[in-house]
């Protein structure tokens, strides 16, 4: 199988980048997209060209490391799939593929297809947790959680933090990511004590990182490899709005939501 790649090459965060064309005839329909890049890179190295940098680790769709745009779609054409699990059998022999990094001001490009997503960690650090130090909490079964609630919390908790939602959003909003964590913890009794402060702090952090506002377009949901629903954004907005009302104002200024 032969494929033509147009890949974004950018040497450093501050260097200008450009699309470069490569071609390889050594592709195989059973390969994953990342294995295709491995093969291409082996060819490039042998020719003395620096290999394409891309982020990856688990290669089984769970760590959230991988991700880039393929022909304008985050993680490529197959729904609910990360690029590491996207096999070439979904492309035609001789097809031209355009690979570009996530584009968002809160995700600066580091090199080629690799971006910096540390802003996601800072959003979690702002409140995406239950404050329980390791020690001796009550017996796990002392807290009964109805199965449907637990299942819905798990649906939201499945987020892998890959950033596709941001890349797909015309406003580069991180609302799906942030909403997923707020929803996961907000649906569980353990998450209630800090529910308001969590929503306030996480949303403010998200806005402060330079992510855009949610325009309810739903592109994020469409590309999410874990199928997280935009319902989580509604929950986030509700928690944030509720918390903003009861919060003792520090100043009189009104504040934007997500």
């Amino acid at each position: 199988m032969r494929l033509v790649f147009h890949i974004w090459r950018q040497a450093t965060a501050s260097a200008p980048g450009k699309m470069v064309r490569y071609e390889s005839a050594n592709m195989n329909p059973d390969m994953s997209m990342l294995e295709a890049l491995d093969v291409l890179n082996e060819e490039l190295i042998t020719q003395g060209t620096e290999p394409v940098v891309f982020e990856h680790d688990c290669r089984e769709g769970i760590c959230g490391s991988c991700g880039f745009m393929i022909n304008g779609i985050a993680h490529g054409p197959l729904a609910r799939t990360t690029v590491c699990q996207l096999t070439l059998r979904h492309f035609k022999d001789g097809e031209e593929l355009y690979l570009e990094p996530w584009r968002a001001s809160a995700f600066p490009v580091l090199k080629d297809l690799m971006v910096d997503r540390a802003s996601f960690d800072r959003i979690i650090a702002a409140g995406g947790y239950c404050s329980v130090p390791a020690g001796s909490p009550q017996d796990a079964n002392a807290l009964l959680i109805p199965k449907p609630e637990a299942d819905r919390a798990m649906d939201a908790a499945a987020c892998i933090g890959c950033g596709a939602c941001v890349a797909a959003c015309p406003n580069a909003s991180a609302s799906l990511f942030t909403g997923a964590k707020i929803t996961h913890l907000g649906l569980m009794p353990q998450g209630q004590p800090e529910r308001e402060i969590r929503a306030l702090r996480m949303v403010r952090q998200m806005n402060g990182e330079g992510f855009g506002h949610c325009g309810n377009i739903g592109e994020c949901e469409a590309v999410c490899p874990k199928g997280i629903s935009i319902e989580v954004i509604a929950r986030m907005n509700r928690d944030f709005a509720g918390a903003s009302i009861t919060e003792r104002p520090k100043s009189g200024a009104a504040e934007d939501g997500a």
Binding site: T12, N28, D30, M31, E35, D38, V39, E42, I45, T46, G48, E50, P51, E55, D57, C58, R59, E60, I62, C63, G64, S65, Q85, T87, R89, L110, K111, M114, D116, R117, A118, F120, D121, I124, A125, G128, Y129, C130, S131, V132, P133, A134, D139, A140, N141, L143, L144, I145, P146, K147, A150, A153, M154, A158, I160, G161, H184, M188, Q190, G191
Partner: protein
């Protein structure tokens, strides 16, 4: 080198309590005066860093990924064991302890394992309090399943993503400490050497993977939670970045390496499809609860599975092990798969595969029930193989999955270098020669949340730790050593890529130090690895420079270490002339092909001491004593 295991002795039930009481405490006001380095941010490292931060220590945590949330623990699917006995089916701490010692084929320390079983109970409480969304029953209680050959239902799970959810729990606790300023996180930073001063671990040398800066970090103690070394085989279920460099560097600085040859081969992985293959994907072992494993009775039977009638199928596990059937432990299941493939009865294009068939379960329970139990796994299988497992049986084959070996540690999880602690898969401590399913997550979190906070405190409170400056000669020398090595790798400019070397090393390891091992094979492997290593240092091609993101350079450094570790693994496998757990020496088997242990000669943990490059390392033995679970031949018949 003298091995002192510091096993507390006395009644095993109270050993850990007594140890905790006897441990010295660090005054709360003094904790912030101590600097602690944690390398790795998975279940072990992440939970340790978070907990030490909570206690008030000054923690620096390092990971090579872009975020601590991506550590390879995230990929664990099946579940986590705990002796809660919520199902009232006869489980207890003692039974989990017993199963783990027996499952490890009597090559682990009883006292460590007992403590692990005790802590298992607290882990579930802790995780639930953090908001980990474990599976629940309709009444709201936690759901359990039986897993990996256990005869009780003690496994807690969060769909097929238990590792992910537990890791995110630890990660969130860690982020909270980062936010509070008690932990400073260094992502995209790789540890390349350990700094030892006056015989104590005092810091690490790192490379910033974005700028290439080689930096040193000084601390009062260093904790390694850097995972396993299964990628020495190139193809494994480990994440691509998982590597041995941190523990290998520590070994070369004086930490003994325990049982390097003890590797686990997981029976249910998707078979290799071509030589471009970059990693192997595990299918959770929970599938064996409902799937039946078989191959055709006839050699070379190329018919498609549905054309093979019942009476021409060999459900070989059910036939050979009537009481455990498809649920025999991992090592037994893997070896049997290899055996039937060696007989020429393997399935699929490569004939290196066996069927895992859900036909019977689907007719018994209905497709919906199976979808509810394994939906995401079936989906993943189909995505990779383009085959629908609801219709055609899955094809599976064993793959390298976990390494029970690792740095040797005493009961306090301290290595032979004072001040260097090793936790999680990176140490050798709890699983003996074979790890039971759903026990890796348990060990990582037990070490990180509940053991290291006590034993580290004891070390800091009792050791005399002098002040060290960044300009100390040992620090300078370690930094210079890494700078030179980096220059050397970049300067070779040969003809072969790093990956091509890694694949070749992996093939040698899989063929000679994989599922079945022989003395002549291991000897051959040692000499082949040595010459391949020489070729690597003459002919590897690493483009680019150090002062940039350079993934080839990162890989080259890791592969260089894998060569050395691979050789040590073969050496260890060669000296252990018995079969135990995942280590199968063809010379040591019963007439019907089962592994045969040799307790008279090998009831010990091997601890290897580095003696210099190109010198034969020295083998030390820690005798194992069994006061509670008496060694018996494991039988799953």
């Amino acid at each position: 080198m003298k091995l002192d295991s510091k096993i507390p002795g006395g009644p095993i039930e109270t050993a850990w309590d007594r140890t905790r009481f006897e441990n010295k405490l660090v005054n709360p006001a003094n904790k912030r005066k101590y600097e602690v380095i944690v390398v790795g941010s998975g279940l072990a490292g992440g939970s340790a860093a978070a907990t030490l931060g909570e206690l008030g220590y000054n923690v620096k945590c390092f990971c090579f990924q872009d975020s601590p949330r991506r550590a390879h623990s995230i990929a664990a699917q099946g579940g986590i064991n705990a002796a809660k006995n919520y199902q009232n089916d006869g489980d207890s701490i003692y039974r989990l302890f017993y199963d783990t010692v027996k499952g490890g084929d009597f090559r682990a320390r009883e006292y460590n394992v007992y403590r692990l079983a005790q802590n298992s109970v607290n882990i579930i409480d802790q995780a639930v309090a953090q908001g980990v969304p474990f599976a629940r029953e309709y009444g709201g209680t936690l759901a359990n399943r039986s897993f990996g050959g256990a005869q009780v239902s003690r496994t807690f799970y969060a769909r097929g993503q238990t590792g992910q959810q537990l890791l995110l729990g630890a990660y969130q606790a860690l982020e909270r400490q980062i936010d509070a300023g008690r932990v400073k996180m260094f992502p995209r930073t790789e540890m390349l050497d350990l700094i030892v001063i006056d015989g104590k671990a005092r810091g690490i040398v790192t490379r910033n993977m974005v700028t290439g800066a080689i930096e040193t970090h000084i601390a009062d103690a260093v904790i390694l939670g850097t995972g396993g070394y299964g990628n020495v085989y190139y193809l494994s279920t480990n994440a691509k970045g998982s590597n041995c460099t941190a523990i290998w560097r520590a070994y070369k600085r004086g930490a003994a390496f325990g049982n390097p040859c003890f590797t686990q081969i997981h029976p249910t992985c998707i078979p290799v499809s071509g030589d471009y293959q970059s990693k192997l994907t595990l299918m959770s072992e929970s599938l064996r609860n409902d799937g039946r494993i078989w191959v055709p009775l006839k050699k070379g039977d190329k018919r498609s599975p549905e054309q093979i009638p019942e009476n021409e199928r060999d459900y070989y596990l059910e036939r050979r092990y009537p009481s455990f059937g498809n649920l025999v432990p991992r090592d037994v299941a893997s070896r049997n798969a290899k055996a039937v493939c060696d007989e020429g009865r393997g399935v699929g294009e490569t004939a290196l595969g066996v069927y895992l068939d859900f036909g019977a379960a689907i007719s018994r329970l209905g497709e919906d029930k199976i979808r509810e139990r394994y939906g995401n796994l079936f989906e993943m299988y189909e995505r990779i193989t383009d085959e629908n497992p609801y219709k055609v049986p899955m094809r599976i084959y064993p793959a390298i999955h976990y390494t029970m070996g690792g740095l040797w540690v005493d009961y306090n999880l301290q290595s032979t270098i004072p001040g260097l602690f090793v936790i999680g898969e990176a140490n050798f401590s709890d699983h003996g020669a074979n790890r039971l399913g759903a026990s890796a997550l348990m060990q990582g979190l037990s070490d990180g949340y509940f053991i290291i906070p006590y034993t580290l405190g004891n070390y800091l409170a009792s050791a005399k730790i002098d002040k060290v400056s960044d300009s100390a000669p040992e620090v300078q020398a370690a930094r210079a050593g890494i700078q030179d090595r980096t220059k050397q790798l970049l300067g070779i400019n040969g003809k072969r890529t790093v990956d091509s070397f890694h694949r070749e090393l992996g093939k040698i390891m899989w063929d000679e130090c994989g599922m079945a091992r022989t003395a002549p094979g291991l000897e051959k492997a040692i000499s082949r690895i040595q010459s391949l290593r020489q070729e690597f240092w003459k002919d590897v091609k690493v483009l680019g420079k150090n002062e940039e993101i350079n993934q080839s350079l990162e890989k080259a450094g890791r592969v260089a270490d894998f060569f050395e570790l691979g050789e040590l693994m073969c050496r260890d496998a060669l000296t252990r002339n018995e079969s135990c757990g995942g280590h199968f020496r063809e010379e040591s088997q019963t007439p019907d092909g089962e592994a045969m242990r040799d307790d008279a000669n090998f009831s010990h943990a091997s601890a290897w001491e580095y003696k210099g490059d190109n010198q034969t390392p020295e083998l030390h033995k820690e005798p194992l004593e069994f006061h509670y679970v008496h060694p018996s031949q494991r039988s799953y018949k």
